[in-house]
């Protein structure tokens, strides 16, 4: 069947054809959905190259799981679940690699000392002086030891913005507590 004829078909029909080995059906599905998947990943990763790699991983996973697809269920949530699981796997993997870097451990220790000063002094009110998103970003970074990608994911923002939230929050805390940067 020609590509133009397939463009009229539903995602579910295309998946059925793809399961039977129709490569053109895969091409149409890719054209239809790759932009959404790429946009979702790009928003959550600081480097475009990583988003491109993950986009390929998503469609590779889709390819390998195509026989498990149930035609009676809509295609879009299924694709989204694959996209999200690939993204979460990437975050977990990054977390493990990131946590072993010495400068990160040192950085976290410095932040922890300040947080301990806040919490041990029963001065929780100090934290409450921060805007809600900054407070949550700092808690995730310092207490849960989350990466910026992970914070961005939890706060539904970009990693760049997550970094800014943590940095601004810590600066404000330093000012409030009278800590000096070394």
């Amino acid at each position: 069947m020609a590509k133009n004829d397939l463009k009229e078909k539903s995602d579910e029909d295309l998946m059925e054809m793809y399961k039977l080995g129709d490569v053109i059906a895969f091409e149409v599905l890719f054209e239809r959905h790759s932009g959404l998947v790429f946009g979702y990943l790009k928003k959550r990763l600081s480097k475009a190259k990583n988003a491109q790699d993950l986009l390929q991983e998503v469609f590779l996973k889709l390819h390998r799981s195509r026989h498990q697809y149930d035609r009676t269920l809509p295609f879009s949530p299924w694709l989204f679940s694959i996209t999200r699981s690939v993204w979460l796997d990437c975050v977990k993997k990054k977390n493990v690699e990131h946590a072993t870097e010495p400068e990160v451990i040192e950085d976290m220790t410095n932040h922890k000392q300040m947080m301990e000063a806040v919490t041990s002094g029963l001065d929780i009110e100090v934290l409450n002086q921060l805007p809600a998103t900054q407070k949550e970003a700092i808690s995730l970074r310092v207490i849960d030891e989350a990466t910026f990608d992970e914070i961005a994911f939890k706060l539904s923002t970009s990693p760049e913005n997550a970094r800014k939230l943590v940095s601004r929050g810590l600066k404000k805390l330093r000012d409030i507590l009278g800590f000096r940067e070394e």
Binding site: H63, F80, S156
Partner: protein, 173 residues
């Protein structure tokens, strides 16, 4: 704190309502070559594996009396004792092709195995005939009936090995 389900739904809504991003064309080309490898390249790899594995397998099971390693014991003798000459030819064909496809299963990617599966009959036919030609070249005495049984065995072994190993690999993918 949002539950996982709520977070999933929120992100899914954002996902379907977004305008998306422009995907560079080279991504699709690279993905396509990964998911649907060129059958000729895959056949070249299989041919390479078959040349080495097939030659080494002669040490365990002589084909048409060819015994380059001079081994004393051969599966061929056992096959002859168990089922006679016809059975021996069939079993030798099965063994010869099964070993190639089982080793290929370890060395090639899942998508390459899918390509082999798609063109399995053709590839096995070509490999079988090339092997018979090689045996003849190295001095084997080929008789049409026996060669026919050997080819039949090669097809049976290839089909079983390709299907079995592909299904196993897909379970773990």
């Amino acid at each position: 704190m949002k539950t996982d389900k709520e977070a999933w739904l929120k992100e899914y809504t954002e996902f379907v309502k977004s305008d998306g991003a422009t995907v560079p064309t080279e991504i699709f080309m690279s993905l396509k070559s990964r998911l649907f490898p060129n059958p000729w390249i895959v056949f070249g790899k299989i041919l390479g594996i078959h040349s080495v594995v097939g030659f080494l397998s002669l040490g365990i099971c002589n084909q048409f009396g060819l015994n380059p390693f001079g081994t004393e014991h051969s599966l061929m003798n056992w096959f002859m004792r168990v089922g006679g000459h016809n059975f021996c030819m069939l079993a030798c064909g099965i063994f010869f092709m099964t070993t190639t496809y089982l080793i290929s299963n370890v060395m090639l990617g899942l998508e390459e195995l899918e390509t082999i599966r798609r063109y399995g009959w053709l590839q096995t036919g070509v490999l079988g005939l090339v092997s018979l030609a090689a045996f003849y070249f190295f001095g084997a005495d080929l008789v049409a009936t026996f060669a026919g049984l050997w080819i039949l065995g090669a097809f049976i072994g290839a089909f079983a090995a390709i299907e079995g190993s592909y299904r196993l690999r897909r379970q773990w993918a």
